[in-house]
Amino acid sequence: MESIERRVTENFIETMAADAVGLGEPLNNLTESPVYALLSR
């Protein structure tokens, strides 16, 4: 079962991704961030 920390942090990060997409910006900066890297392990 996924941890609560992981689930809520993913949600938090994904809102920023949604903002980036909405603004027409590439996701590279976000997906290369330490937090995203941590979540993707």
Partner: protein, 187 residues
């Protein structure tokens, strides 16, 4: 901005080298499970509705800028784009008093989590339970769409407000806001 959850604390990044030029804040993470949720009635003078079109979104962003006391009514105007309205899992809610938008909230659903964001109330309308009502509305929408967990990040001042709603504190995020002039690289 780098936002670090607790499990990242033992991981060594190059970020600490830049800490002297960063602004550090804590953001408490609070959650509520659907099986333990209970809500108070909304203030009868408040009408809450979903943002449906670009005009609504423009109004929502203006209300949010004033509610967060950004100092500029157009602070969030760059988000006045139709693309946001079709974002998957995202809904905006506005609270109206006598037809005037006075409070906001945003729901983002992913992986069974109802993430609550952008809860704001115009300064002159605070203390009436409008922020609580906008939060509860978004939470209920998330639960009715299959989420089992509601999540939000707040300030220390907001913790007791959300605690009274039934949220509980789970951990602090560490937020490092770094000058755009500084480049941070991963190891």
């Amino acid at each position: 901005m780098f936002i670090l959850p607790p499990s990242s604390a033992s991981i060594s990044w190059e970020l600490p080298q830049q800490i002297a030029v960063a602004r550090w804040t804590k953001e408490p993470e609070m959650i509520m499970f659907s099986h333990s949720a209970s809500f108070r009635p909304d203030p009868p003078e408040l009408r809450i509705r979903k943002v449906r079109n670009l005009g609504d979104l423009v109004s929502w962003n203006r209300t949010c800028a004033l509610g967060f006391e950004t100092g500029a009514a157009d602070f969030f105007d760059l988000f006045n784009r139709p693309a946001f309205l079709s974002a998957k899992g995202t809904s905006w809610y506005v609270g109206e008093y006598s037809g005037k938008p006075v409070a906001t909230s945003l729901l983002y659903m992913s992986n069974g989590v109802a993430g609550i964001y952008s809860v704001s109330t115009l300064p002159e309308f605070r203390g009436r339970g409008f922020g609580t009502a906008l939060t509860a509305f978004a939470v209920k929408e998330g639960f009715s769409n299959g989420c089992d967990l509601a999540s939000l990040q707040t300030s220390a001042v907001g913790v007791p407000v959300y605690f009274r709603m039934g949220f509980r504190f789970v951990f602090d995020y560490e937020c490092w806001t770094i000058s755009p002039k500084i480049t941070v690289t991963k190891k």
